[in-house]
């Protein structure tokens, strides 16, 4: 099995603050990998660093066996790695129709056949062509997130970075989006790195996961271990307990 993404000793700092402190993660090709941890622990920063959106101070990032330099990425990279963001209200350009947002990546990479691809992408995420010329404000949160997924998929990447793709959504809508993600992963044999603060979601979606705290990875374990309670760190155990719901006492 080849590694899709390999992060070694990665440090990201904003001014004096280390958002990531010597983090290492390996994700195998075709795997679905989860990142959990409390707010501010650096989960998003890790994804953004891989995507070239965060200032890397130290460490190496390899994607599909190619070493990446700093924040520079070439066009090939963007065709193999795409990202879906947490907030569906902020990740779509408010002044552009769905059509334009889906057309943009095709235009940038000079991919022809836009018409068919857009229709196909919309279809794939379960939205018909009726949504094609809407503006984001004419869509619900779940629909927006589907558009964001369609946009990420339209360049046919092999790796998808998912930054809490459902945390802003209702439980019922969350289920639909999670199902959709599972399905495209299966169909396209994608590699996922998925961030969530919800252990339920992560165990549902991922095979393996890493627990983060204060910019460090405190534990790596498989979903099965987590479910079975084979947990090494207290912090992970706390998270586990908290996800079970309120208990009076």
């Amino acid at each position: 099995m080849t590694t899709a993404v390999s992060v070694q000793n990665l440090t990201v700092s904003y001014d004096d603050f280390k958002a990531l402190d010597a983090v290492g993660v390996d994700v195998a090709s075709g795997e679905s990998f989860g990142l959990v941890g409390e707010s501010g622990s650096g989960k998003s920063t890790l994804l953004r660093a891989v995507a070239g959106l965060a200032p890397v101070a130290e460490g190496t990032i390899r994607v599909e066996n190619r070493q990446l330099q700093g924040a520079r990425r070439d066009k090939a990279f963007y065709r193999s790695v795409q990202m879906v963001f947490q907030d569906p209200y902020g990740s779509l350009h408010p002044r552009q129709t769905v059509d334009r947002q889906l057309l943009e990546p095709l235009a940038i990479h000079g991919v022809g056949d836009g018409e068919r691809r857009i229709l196909k992408a919309l279809d794939e995420v379960g939205l018909g062509s009726g949504f094609r010329f809407r503006y984001p404000h004419q869509l619900s949160g779940g629909q927006r997130q589907r558009i964001a997924i369609a946009r990420a998929l339209i360049l046919e990447p092999s790796i998808l970075l998912l930054d809490e793709p459902t945390s802003a959504l209702d439980a019922s809508v969350q289920a639909e989006v999670l199902n959709l993600l599972e399905q495209v992963r299966r169909d396209r044999k994608l590699t996922f790195i998925m961030v969530s603060h919800d252990l339920g979601v992560v165990t549902h979606m991922c095979d393996r996961l890493a627990v983060m705290q204060n910019g460090r990875v405190v534990e790596r374990l498989s979903s099965a271990d987590l479910v079975a309670g084979r947990i090494g760190e207290d912090y992970t155990r706390n998270l586990m307990v908290a996800s079970k719901g309120f208990r009076r006492g």
Binding site: N179, E182, K244, F246
Partner: protein, 277 residues
């Protein structure tokens, strides 16, 4: 159990350019000194129900009800002054997101003191004392320090505790908590909830707990109202949740991924138009 709050056929309408939006369409319930949960998906009218009780509906909205009475006072016909005096003193409300609900340019202590001094004529020093006590009651470790901090200087969990302190300092009889923990981390969420729980139990307040998380509500409240499209589709005792009859309630319960349960794909809600009728 005598009813603290009686709501009968509450309706909230928003006239807009594209027609009238009915956010709440005939909600009725009565509340004693108990924990009542209101759940429902986004836009189902939970917040508007809470706000209508508080009298915080935007001015251009229409609020009507057969009965909307609190402790014998008819809220709808009451003078604005009377309602203002009720707010904060006898009915309080916790808003969802501490980041936006605290005045960013006022120290936390001053915001708490402000509530107190609005409703009771107490000296500055005494108000400070009581605010500090209240901060301690919501389990803030170093109240004197936090008193002088500004909202941006505290974490979300701390901000939410400050918000609770601010709303409870005048000792209300009814507390409406509108998604008080949805902006918080799971671990912090539970801490905040347990504080709320203790305060309600200790003070004998009535509590309306609004949330979209059915499991959370059911583990926290005594009774649950399930709302859909501005209406109550089911009322159920928390302990009875497993036997929910309405397909919407069942759907809400089922669609959450649960640790250990291996359901692929997750069951999804199939909304029926007749639910909204």
């Amino acid at each position: 159990m005598s009813a603290l709050l009686t709501v009968e056929d509450l309706r909230v309408r928003f006239p807009t350019r594209t027609g009238v939006v009915e956010a709440v369409r005939g909600v009725s319930f009565a509340l004693g000194r108990e924990r009542l949960g209101i759940v429902g998906e986004s836009g189902s009218g939970k917040s508007q129900t809470g706000r209508a009780i508080m009298g915080l509906t935007p001015p251009h909205a229409e609020v009507t009800a057969k009965t909307l009475s609190f402790g014998g006072i008819d809220l709808l016909s009451a003078q604005p002054k009377v309602r203002r005096d009720l707010r904060g003193k006898r009915i309080a409300m916790i808003l969802q997101d501490p980041k936006y609900s605290l005045n960013p340019v006022m120290s936390i202590g001053r915001q708490i003191v402000e509530t107190l001094r609005r409703h009771e004529s107490v000296s500055r020093a005494e108000a400070r004392e009581r605010a500090l006590d209240m901060l301690a009651a919501v389990q803030i470790r170093d109240p004197a320090r936090v008193f002088d901090l500004y909202p941006h200087e505290v974490s979300g969990g701390m901000g939410q505790r400050a918000m609770i302190a601010m709303m409870l300092v005048a000792g209300p009889e009814l507390l409406i908590a509108d998604e008080p923990t949805s902006a918080l981390d799971v671990t912090v969420q539970l801490e905040v909830l347990s504080i709320l729980d203790k305060l309600v139990a200790g003070r004998g307040m009535g509590l309306i707990f609004v949330s979209h998380d059915l499991r959370l509500v059911s583990s926290f409240c005594d009774r649950v109202l399930v709302m859909y499209a501005g209406k109550i589709v089911e009322e159920i005792a928390a302990s009875d949740l497993g036997n929910a009859k309405h397909p919407y309630t069942q759907g809400l319960l089922n669609c959450m991924p649960v640790i250990g349960a291996d359901r692929h794909p997750l069951p999804v809600l199939d909304r029926k138009p007749e639910w909204a009728l």
